[in-house]
């Protein structure tokens, strides 16, 4: 209360000093709103911006017992170590390829599902389907990995069991094989997140003005024509925004999604920056090095985002900013 009174006093004094400033008067008139903004700003400063300062350990030899300030500066040593790391190219290739597969296969999946559900006319069916498909979102990746194991295991797996009993062949080794790891990662990701992803697109679909459909029908457009000329253009802004955000995270695949599936037999095609950061950082205690990896990932993500945003603005007129 004291602070508010003091602020009010200062405010009234400065009003006397510069009575002509329109911006100041605007601020004073609406000051309750600005005060209400304070907790949000404080939250972002404390929770989002302060931790960014910790990034300096990417340029230091951070020792948890010395603390951030007392640790020695080492310049770009960790970046040098990253770029000369023998498996750097392998990590980069796996990260980018899995990301690409996700954009090609996993990103459109919820759009297609949302469009299909949008065509459903029975509300109850739509609601039930919607609830069922987004339930897996609430399972943790560890559980999903367990389910995948129960499906694909060569000894106890349901799918492999069916395959063996139908064809009489030997079971197919999928979990311990490098060729199938990326497919497993991307498709288990689709299964888990597709329903959840539809929510935003279904919301965007309800935002399309019904009069547009009416106009199209009057002009003689069929269902397919309506879809192409009304639904899809109406959905495009949401698609572009989400695609751009996804591109900004092109280097982030999520450690918890991939780590449970990795073993030495498939690591050559499944190892990504996120799993490597975990192994080296948390297990190996190399905080500085893994921070450098994280910073590298963020910079790449940022550049991709800026470029993609430019391209998108030029091509479709839609952008994030």
């Amino acid at each position: 209360m004291h602070a508010t009174k003091a602020a009010a006093a200062t405010a009234s004094r400065s009003r006397q000093r510069s009575p002509g400033s329109a911006g100041w008067q605007y601020f004073v008139r609406h000051h309750p709103f600005y005060v209400m903004l304070v907790p949000g700003i404080v939250y972002f400063l404390v929770m989002k911006y302060m931790p960014l300062l910790g990034t300096v350990i990417a340029f230091k030899d951070y020792n948890i017992f010395k603390g951030i300030l007392a640790s020695e500066w080492v310049g770009l040593q960790w970046f040098h170590q990253l770029f000369t790391y023998p498996k750097f190219l392998r990590l980069l290739e796996n990260t980018l390829l899995i990301s690409l597969y996700q954009i090609v296969f996993a990103f459109p999946a919820p759009i297609v599902l949302a469009l299909l559900m949008n065509e459903l006319r029975m509300m109850t069916v739509k609601r039930i389907v919607q609830t069922l498909v987004y339930l897996p979102h609430f399972l943790s990746w560890t559980i999903v990995a367990g389910l995948v194991y129960m499906l694909l295991s060569t000894q106890t797996g349901l799918l492999n069991g069916l395959y063996v009993s139908w064809t009489g062949n030997a079971p197919i080794e999928l979990l311990q094989s490098a060729d199938s790891i990326r497919t497993i990662i991307v498709s288990s990701g689709i299964w888990k997140e597709v329903g959840w992803g539809t929510i935003i697109f279904l919301a965007a679909l309800t935002g399309i003005d019904p009069s547009l459909y009416e106009a199209a029908r009057i002009d003689g457009a069929g269902r397919w024509r309506q879809f192409l000329s009304v639904t899809l253009p109406g959905l495009l802004p949401a698609i572009m925004v989400l695609l751009l955000l996804k591109l900004g995270n092109v280097m982030d695949l999520g450690f918890e999604q991939i780590y449970p599936f990795i073993n030495p037999l498939n690591a050559e095609k499944g190892d990504v920056f996120d799993t490597y950061t975990y192994v080296a950082g948390i297990k190996g205690g190399q905080y500085s090095f893994t921070t450098a990896v994280g910073l590298f990932k963020s910079v790449v993500g940022f550049l991709v985002l800026v470029l993609a945003n430019k391209a998108s603005k030029a091509a479709t007129g839609e952008g994030l900013y």
Binding site: M1, Q155, L265, K283, Q286
Partner: protein, 523 residues
């Protein structure tokens, strides 16, 4: 006027909320401090007592959801010694990761539990307390009752860096092979003494349908992810991949020793003939245990003291089979005649104190009490009327009951030695006891000497985790050789790559440490 009042009320409300949020955020620290302070006060009012803060693994046991000082066990120890343990239990599976995070956020206890000083960051950073004087003053029982080999493993240049707990049952070769004895008898097999005989036993398990269900679904031998829990297979040739070995005057990681190649060839044969669990690369501990308890596994590798509990679990899980389990001595690998089995670990656990601790004396005093007959009896068996029961003048103890009283966490943290005069007071289930004893006997007869038990992780291995035994270089090469994606010759290629990427430095660092700290003492 009312307008203005409303506006101010709005401001006040917002500000109030901000303050509440702030207060919540700030609450953690004062609350923690207050808790500690009140703990000390309460303690002082009871018996002028002291307390210390300790991090330890929960060893996958459950514990009451109250503050540690309210656990009856902690209270009992406080009554006996005047020392309250502010115990923080950390989930076993994430123990090291969680410790790192706690230390990094400057949450430093007085003492923490670990398994060796070799991988202890506080010890390497000179933050661990040297215990020599404190032990002389407060730890006479510790000094008298813990064997010298355990002290040696926590001593660096004459400085004792931790309280050591000797290995379970004082049997340093802590992993042995267990085999389904009923399967062997059914198929008329003898315990194998060489690697070739072992292969014959496994083949018989695979093809002789010992579980009698008419299907060849037996898994002759099962291991776990990361090529772990197959130590005694490697041990047939005198090396363990996750320990060090001596080779041509140097200290090398076990997986670099040339004998590894023979072990990998053997494992490849096992995999090729379907004798090795085909899912050995993905088996988690839980799945591995389920497979064994479902009666499909003929042979596995586990700790030397667990024969009794494995037998009990198997008997309970397979009531219609006449399960019999036994430990077998590690067979001798073809073309090798040195010591076999598990590389010896002279330590079961260690307790590392921090230099900055103001309560170090209390830690030593408490552990000194824990190795007295009286203290050890309590640490090992808990309260009478729980897992420990009295019938007439006989005392019975059933470890399985500990979990009914949420007290199983007590034993691994506080029961640090095995004393005959203590354990002799107890009458246990003789069948289980016999199984445990048989495993320990086997373990005591074998084992590979370990000259570098106290060696810290070589610095190059810290900065390049790829070069370690869990690192991708060895794991991927070994896995590919075992499943046959690469020929055995790939091993030589792997060693060359490993050397080139910094392995030569690892060997030099390890050898230098050995020459400076072990050889010089011996000479």
């Amino acid at each position: 006027m009312t307008q203005a009042w409303k506006k101010w009320a709005g401001c006040a409300l917002t500000l109030g909320m901000a303050l509440v949020v702030g207060a919540c955020a700030a609450e953690n620290e004062p609350a923690g401090a207050a808790r500690e302070a009140s703990g000390t006060e309460a303690g002082q009012s009871e018996a002028g007592e002291t307390q210390f803060r300790m991090f330890a693994s929960d060893f996958n046991n459950s514990y009451p959801a109250t503050a540690a000082k309210d656990y009856p066990e902690i209270q009992y120890m406080a009554e006996q010694t005047g020392i309250t343990v502010d115990l923080v239990l950390i989930p076993h599976g994430q123990y090291h990761d969680q410790l790192r995070i706690k230390f990094a956020s400057n949450d430093i206890p007085d003492v923490y539990q670990s398994w060796s000083i070799a991988d202890s960051e506080p010890v390497q950073n000179g933050l661990a307390l040297e215990l020599n004087e404190l032990l002389d003053e407060y730890g006479p029982n510790l000094k008298a009752r813990i064997p010298q080999s355990s002290w040696d493993a926590v001593t660096i240049n004459g400085k004792i860096m931790a309280i050591p707990a000797p290995p379970n049952a004082n049997a340093p070769a802590e992993r042995i092979l267990y085999v389904r004895k009923d399967w062997m008898e059914k198929l008329g097999l003898e315990a194998p003494t060489t690697s070739d005989e072992l292969l014959e036993v496994l083949r018989a398990f695979k093809n002789g349908d010992p579980n009698g269900n008419g299907e060849a679904d037996e898994i002759a031998f099962s291991g776990r992810e990361k090529i772990s829990w197959m130590d005694n297979i490697f041990g047939m040739w005198g090396i363990n991949p996750n320990a060090y070995a001596q080779h041509e005057g140097q200290i090398v990681p076990g997986f670099i020793h040339p004998n590894t190649k023979q072990a990998l060839a053997f494992l490849h044969t096992m995999y090729d003939e379907g004798l090795l669990d085909s899912e050995f690369m993905t088996n988690t501990g839980t799945i591995w245990k389920q497979k064994i308890l479902s009666g499909k596994v003929g042979m596995f590798n586990h700790n030397q003291t667990l024969g009794g509990s494995w037998f009990r679990d198997l008997r309970d899980a397979l009531p219609e089979e006449e399960v019999e389990l036994m430990a077998i001595p590690t067979p001798q690998g073809t073309g090798y005649d040195g010591p076999v089995g598990r590389v010896e670990q002279p330590l079961g656990k260690v307790f590392i104190l921090f230099k900055q601790s103001a309560n170090a004396a209390a830690v030593i005093k408490l552990y000194d009490w824990l190795v007295t007959d009286e203290g050890n009896f309590f640490a090992a068996y808990g309260f009478e009327g729980q897992a420990l029961t009295r019938e007439g003048d006989q005392l019975f103890y059933e470890i399985g009951k500990e979990k009914d009283y949420q007290s199983a966490w007590r034993k691994p943290i506080f029961d640090i030695i095995d004393l005959e005069q203590v354990d002799g007071q107890i009458t246990t289930d003789e069948v289980l006891q016999a199984h445990s004893r048989q495993g320990i006997e086997v373990s005591l007869q074998e084992g590979i000497p370990n000259p570098v038990a106290a060696m810290p992780v070589p610095p190059t291995l810290v900065s390049q985790s790829d070069l370690g035994w869990e690192g991708s270089l060895f794991q991927e090469a070994a896995a590919k050789i075992i499943v046959g994606d690469e020929p055995l010759e790939h091993y030589d290629e792997f060693v060359a790559t490993w050397m080139r990427q910094g392995g030569d430095k690892v060997i030099r660092e390890a050898t230098d440490w050995y020459e400076a700290n072990v050889q010089s003492d011996g000479a």
